[in-house]
Symmetry: C2
Subunit: 418 residues, 2 copies
Amino acid sequence: MERLPGFRDFYPEPLPHEDVWSADARQYLFDRWRGTARRYGFREYDGPPLEPLELYTTKSGDEIVGQLYNFADKGNRAVSLRPEMTPTLARMVAAHARNYRKPIKWFAIPQLFRYERQQKGRLREHFQLNADIIGEPDLSADAEMLALLIDVLRGLGLTSEDFCVRLSSRRAWHEFYVHHHGEPGQAYDFYQAIDKLGRESTEESRKKLGAIGFQLDAVTSFINEGRPTPDLQAILDNLNARGLGEFVKVDYHVIRGLAYYTGVVFEAFDKKGEFRAIAGGGRYDNLVKLISGNKVDLPALGFGMGDVVLLELLKARGLLPRFDAGLDVYCLIEDEMLRGESLRLVQDLRGAGCAVEYPLAPAKPDKQFKRALELKCAFTARLERAAAGNLLVKLKDLATREERILTPAEVVQTMAKG
Amino acid sequence: MERLPGFRDFYPEPLPHEDVWSADARQYLFDRWRGTARRYGFREYDGPPLEPLELYTTKSGDEIVGQLYNFADKGNRAVSLRPEMTPTLARMVAAHARNYRKPIKWFAIPQLFRYERQQKGRLREHFQLNADIIGEPDLSADAEMLALLIDVLRGLGLTSEDFCVRLSSRRAWHEFYVHHHGEPGQAYDFYQAIDKLGRESTEESRKKLGAIGFQLDAVTSFINEGRPTPDLQAILDNLNARGLGEFVKVDYHVIRGLAYYTGVVFEAFDKKGEFRAIAGGGRYDNLVKLISGNKVDLPALGFGMGDVVLLELLKARGLLPRFDAGLDVYCLIEDEMLRGESLRLVQDLRGAGCAVEYPLAPAKPDKQFKRALELKCAFTARLERAAAGNLLVKLKDLATREERILTPAEVVQTMAKG
């Protein structure tokens, strides 16, 4: 039986096949995401992976709705697997906004689902770090968000040689749109056309923009000029003060496909241009109000960073460690008469915080030792009964091959963690 | 807009409402689960939360199939949210069994979904620690599994006063069944009747057992006698050798509802009998063969431990810590002229591994200090420009109220983590 197309199985390393993913690398990534977000004062939240369908149809942005994993549950409710986290966040914040001091700084690591038409390598699920600040209109929140994004990537070993955050502004584009007499009802089409610039042919872009009364040349010269708005300049100044200026640049190509962005928007890319965007986000000051049915009105902004592109990038740059079981001790049981005493030693070592493995069933000594090496254990421990009847342990460091003879209690004391 | 009934929202503590769950407690539990499993040499894996429906209809155990979140996806595949992890594990092991040395020791922390009829407090999803050993027929594997189960609970602060693991055997019940001339085709009904003993009326039990040719008295006297089979005795001896004997007892009431168990089965309960089972598992030596379509035949065993009962129990016993943002430093910005320099200090402290918060927007000094206290920060740090023009930091320990004056570099050095 096979897993569904577009879904992933995560195995422990070393991986048995190129078609599966590393559960160890995934956990490493989640730990780093979590650690950096916490250093920034963000708190973790999560919602259900299954939500009312209405949560996604309420807001515009039809490109998502066509790709939902939606169905009727056994109570005949219209439900959907979550395609993104922001609507859940807006729902949760709206429900209990009064109980939290603003600004709220929250993060989550949800698995998200989209039924995209199957293309080579395209997945239908991924994990995403979502970090958001809610209730702070000041641009300092936008800068804080960008600093977190940059530090999450730096925390994984990526440098300013590896990635860049492209900074843009929906407001700047909105002003451009109004200045060039765009029809209010066609703004979304305009944003979509900008979003696709460079990804479709010049002719196609010219045609699409022309259809809503815009000239491609005016658009490209606005982009090429790339003059920071006062908002963007304030953010750049803030990041420069932190020493993070080298990681960002203004780039009006970025506009973000989703309909709900209102202010600053940004995307992170690998500098060699080999991969799709590593992360993207921006301000969505009206979404909480929309989701809450006008009950709660809070400015908000955030970003999402998926695991797929990021793991590919880290792998390509040689920044993913190799993972093993991280075992401290392999307890050799060469004398089956000492199995009970060996089990006690295993138990005591584990109780002292060590990761310990041993032969579950009787096995030949050389096979046991080979197993200890395969598992990359740091030490082996072998119980022996001394002539006087007392128990001794031969503790061997597998890196140096040094061997010490200790009592069981001394072994536990020597190996105990923190 | 509301979340779906039977699903949970996880918020950061302090919780805004009794109707929501703690994301912090959840993460604490996951960390402990993960840590103990790793000390036992178990490796993490995961599969998709959505699987082919067939994966659950292949094996018997109809009680699950009626409660599936199943639907047809946009490619018209019959799919289902996973109601349990074992079929996914069997599928993954069957796919790549040759590439792993046996025994395979794996764990996962999946979210599982069942559409149970809505009862007071009954959830339709939960998280579960799943730990399994595959490829080891020796009873030492059963003992290792039980030792892990016990240590996971001990690692959360629970003692032998709080919980007990009830040990039983499908094989013992099978022998009883054969000895009493049970019809081979009715064994599943028999197991179901045993499983419900004590949970339904004596009359009901007597009737059900009578219908398949069994006397309730014979059944209860077998249970009350409670004589360990040689298999169970071997496991008890193993656990006694580890010093874990006080946590287990033989109890033939336990039989486990699922159809696929073949050998030793067990359940962990709180000793006061206030909660449903904390965990349960056993041997399922035929499942990998069944799921792999006879391609791979490996003995296996494992257990599942859900988050819901466990969190309730820990809460009731006062064993759940209170969680906060775990902030090391709140950087006060009293002089807005020093915001840039303060941002640099924030950045440097975070770079040194500290969790740091600061006022995003300008705020009055007393409000900032109050915020630092609310957030339970360990220290405040306040930049000042000395008369000579150099920068100084007033670093205040909020527990002792001691204040030191240091240079920014000294503060970073003092506060740096590991």
